[in-house]
Every structure is written in C-alpha cells, then in structure tokens.
C-alpha cells in the first residue's frame, strides 16, 4: 500500500516511509523477537549458580595474577609440539584439498555427471563436513584410531573438504562458458574439456582457497590437542590440568604469534595470486 492510496481521514496527509499495516507487523516482529530472547534467557539461566557468577571478578583477578609473568624457560619444550601443529595443518590441508576436488566436481552443476543422484550426495558431504567442527572430528578420530598426529591430520582434512569443496564448486559454476564451448568445439573429450576449459579458469581461485584454508587450519590445529590429537594443544591441556598458569600464558602467546604469522603469509600469497 503506498501513501497515495492510504485513507486520508486525519487532516493533511503526511508522507510516511511505511504503511500503518507494515509498521504494526514490524512492531509485532520486534515484540516476538524480544519475547523469544527473554524466554531463551530464562530457560538457559534456570540452572545457573549466580553465586559463581558474582564471584567471577575475584576469580579473574586471581587467575590473572597467577598467569603473569609467563614462564619463558618453558619455550624450548614447546618447539617440538609447534612443529607438529604446523605439520597437522599443512598435511591436513593437502589431504582435505585432494579429497575436496572430486567432491567439488561432482557438486558443480556444469561438471557433475548426474544431477539427480551424485550431486545431492556431494552437497550432503559438503554440508556434513562444514557443520561439524574439527574438534568434534578429532574427538571421534581419537576414539577410533587413537591419540596422535594422524587423528589430527585426518580431522583437519575431513573438516577442510566442506569449506574447500563449497568455494571450489561455486568457482567452477562461475566459469565462462564460452571458453568451455570453444574447447568442446575442437572435438575435445570430457577430460580434455576439464583440463583445458575449466581448470585454467579456476586455478587462481583454487590456490587462493587452499591457502586461505591452510591459514584457518593453523588456527584450528593449535587447539586440537585439547582432545588428544597432538600438537601444541596437548601442552596446553597438560598445563591446564596441573594449573600451571604461567605456562598457559606462554602457550597462548605462542599460539597468537603463530596465528598472526600464518595470517600474514596467507594474505601475502593471496595478494600475489589475484
């Protein structure tokens, strides 16, 4: 309903952005949102011990005073686990990318061999991998194949399939069709169309996605040790278990430095690629 057709029974007509009905609906929507939020809050905090919450500032000050200064002499012990963490992220990324390529080819509308059977399967794989955090994958894999680096690598790889697969299949769907058609017009086979028509177009995107995922994986692999999947997280878990707060501080600083460094590297590489 636009203002022109609005009933004008209250003196001079004034322009309003929304009609009265829309405004009412908007207010009802806000009311519902607030009601939902209050309801959720009440359900969530039903079992909260407010005595602990009130105590929090004192606890925070206590932990803070124990955390400083960091125990620098612990650093040499951390270099081995840090190397493991980087390996988990790198090998996991390579594995994940290798697994993601076929999934992406099956999921993209213009390359999938069967639109009604294989494409939904590939899309489900992508969603399943994306909705489950790498920590949960690691939890499962540690229970299955035992603690250690392998569980971490497989967890990172499984988690990367969804991310890389989704971005890659979107890139494949956006390729310029005229180039593909030109290659096909020369009588190229399906594999040749793929290598000469599609791959050159998505290659920059592919490298950029892989490096981006590697950066995220470095971040995620630092905490995988919390559930026993190797790397610097193991040391974090061990230090937390014995309440060695100065060591925790040092580990957190090291994680922060690693993450910042990997972010810088990935930003540089991606800028060079595009």
């Amino acid at each position: 309903m636009n203002p022109e057709t609005a009933p004008a029974h209250a003196g001079p007509r004034t322009w309003t952005h929304r009609s009265a009905r829309l405004r009412l609906l908007l207010w009802l929507g806000w009311l519902a949102l607030v009601a939902l939020c209050v309801f959720c809050w009440r359900v969530m905090t039903a079992d909260t011990m407010w005595i602990f919450v009130a105590d929090a500032p004192r606890q925070a000050a206590d932990i803070g005073s124990r955390m400083l200064p960091p125990r620098w002499s612990y650093l040499p012990e951390l270099l081995g686990p840090l190397w493991d963490t980087i390996n988990i992220a790198t090998l996991g990324t390579i594995g994940g990318v290798l697994l993601a390529i076929p999934v992406a080819l099956l999921a993209a509308r213009n390359t999938t061999p069967s639109r009604h059977f294989l494409r939904p399967v590939a899309l489900f794989l992508i969603v399943a991998s994306r909705s489950i955090n790498s920590l949960i994958w690691a939890l499962l894999l540690v229970a299955m194949i035992g603690p250690g680096l392998l569980a971490g690598i497989v967890a990172i790889a499984l988690r990367s399939i969804g991310f890389v697969g989704k971005l890659l299949y979107e890139a494949i769907e956006e390729v310029e069709q005229s180039q593909v058609e030109a290659v096909r017009a020369t009588g190229a086979s399906g594999a040749q169309v793929l290598t000469y028509g599609i791959v050159p177009q998505v290659l920059p995107a592919f490298w950029s996605i892989s490096v981006f995922r590697w950066d995220i994986n470095i971040r995620e692999s630092t905490v995988l040790g919390l559930v026993g999947a190797g790397g610097i997280g193991l040391k974090l878990q061990a230090s937390l278990n014995v309440l060695a707060w100065p060591q925790v501080t040092l580990i957190l600083l090291l994680i922060l430095a690693t993450v910042l460094l990997s972010e810088w590297v990935s930003a540089r590489v991606r800028r060079a690629l595009i």
Binding site: L36, C37, M44, D84, R130, I136, G148
Partner: protein, 266 residues
C-alpha cells in the same frame, strides 16, 4: 629434416625465475618429507580402530535417538537458547563497537580503542575463551553464552566497521549539509546503507554460533557438545551419530532459512 615439434606450454605465471622455481620445488619436497617423517603412526592401533570406525559408520546409518533422548534434549535446548541469546547480545554490543571502529565516523583514539577490542576478540579461539569463562563463571551454559558473545562481537563489529567505511560518502555529506548532528548522520545516512548487510551478517552469525555451541561443551561450557563428548567417551556411537545428525539437520535448517530471510529482506 626431422626438427622435433615442441608442444606449446603455458609459461608459468607465479614464479617466473626458473632458479627460484627449482629452489621452491626442492624446498616443498624437503618439507613434505620432513613433515611426513615426523608423523609416527601406530598402524596396529589404526587397524584395530578401523573396526570401531565401522561401528561408528553403522551408528551414523542407524542412529539411536531414544535411549539417551533426555540428555540429548537437554543439550539441544541449552545449545539453542545459548545461540539465540548470545547472538542478540552480540549484535547489541557490536553495533556501538562497530560504529566506533569505522574510521570515517569517529575520532582516532576511539577508532584505535575499538579496533583493539576487535583484534583481541578475533585473535582468541572460541574454545580457549570457553576454558577461561568456565574457570571464571563455573560450568554451564552461562559460560558458553559469554564465550559466544565474545566471539560474535569480534566477528560482527569488524564486518560492520569495514562496511561502514565503504559507504557512499555523498549521502553522508548531503545529510551533513542539512546541519545534522553526528547522531542524525548515523541514523539517516549510515544506518540505511548498512542495515541490510548487518541483518545478513547477524543471521550468518546465528548459524556460526550454533555450530560453535556444539563445540564449547567439550570444555564444560554447556550445550550439545557436552552430551556428544559423553556419548563418544562411552563408545555409544549410535547416540553420537544421532547427535551429529541433529547438529547437521539444525545447521541446514538455520542456513536455508537465513538465506531465504536474507533474500526476502534485501
């Protein structure tokens, strides 16, 4: 005359110098060898684990929703309520911080302070924040709520601030030329330009928060993650499969409804 025909090869685009290319290739191979060498795998243990893996896949195919339904329901309710409240609180906090972190709206000290808050929030992983929140506020969903708020603030404020910095300056100038105050500029020039995207980002964050809420339970911050952790610890793979399927299903529903809502709003 049998001059060999050299097939055309596309010249390399990234590293043009052949010597550097060789160094890079050797370096990568060397790294991979070293990295693979440092992975010690107990193949016997892996072989034994395959049987468990098979049981997990079977559990995934035949999920058991009923025998642990009470625990699953409690975890799901905690996760969902945590997600909703944390997203709303996160948006409420990140709007002022996001405005404060936009270079074109505020003075330099405010800008730096807000950007610092964002950097701290983005640098710490959710699970580490959750460990500290549990240590400070005790076990349960309240610690998880605070963790998710902390993460949402970093995410939403940064994207909102970047968005505000990229708005059409002409509109701001036009409003300012009418003699509008700072608040009026924000309300009439900035808000209409960034609101659609803020709504989209909030819905996206809702989705992320739910996924994260499934994880932070592992360290005791409430939610479905705690239930999942227990199920895996007890080797009840059919219950674990049921929980994972529920997580995937809810993520799918949230993702599709939020993309529909975004299309509807824009």
């Amino acid at each position: 005359m049998t001059s060999p025909v050299r097939p055309w090869k596309r010249p390399p685009t990234l590293v043009r110098d052949p010597r550097w290319r060789r160094v890079l290739q050797v370096g990568i191979v060397l790294y991979l060898l070293l990295a693979l060498g440092s992975v010690h795998v107990d193949w016997l243990r892996v072989w034994e684990g395959l049987e468990r893996g098979q049981r997990f896949v079977l559990g995934f195919l035949q999920p058991d929703f009923t025998s642990r339904w009470n625990d699953i329901q409690k975890g799901l309710v905690e996760s969902l309520t945590m997600t909703v409240t944390a997203t709303v609180a996160g948006i409420a906090l990140s709007v002022p911080i996001g405005i404060g972190a936009a270079r074109n709206l505020v003075s330099r000290p405010v800008y730096l302070a807000c950007r610092f808050v964002i950097a701290v929030s983005r640098a710490l992983q959710e699970i580490i924040v959750a460990i500290f929140m549990v240590a400070m506020f005790g076990f349960g969903p309240f610690a998880g709520f605070l963790t998710l708020v902390f993460g949402s603030v970093g995410f939403l404020s940064k994207l909102l601030a970047d968005d505000i910095e990229e708005i059409d300056e002409a509109q701001t100038e036009a409003i300012r030329a009418t003699g509008a105050s700072w608040w009026q500029v924000v309300h009439y020039a900035v808000q209409p330009q960034v609101l659609p995207r803020l709504i989209g980002l909030s819905l996206y964050r809702l989705d992320i928060n739910f996924r994260e809420s499934a994880v932070i339970g592992i360290v005791g911050a409430g939610g479905i993650g705690a239930t999942l952790n227990t199920a895996i610890d007890r080797y009840e793979y059919d219950s674990a499969g049921a929980i994972l399927l529920l997580i995937i299903g809810i993520v799918l529903v949230v993702e599709y409804s939020s993309s529909y809502l975004r299309k509807f709003l824009q």
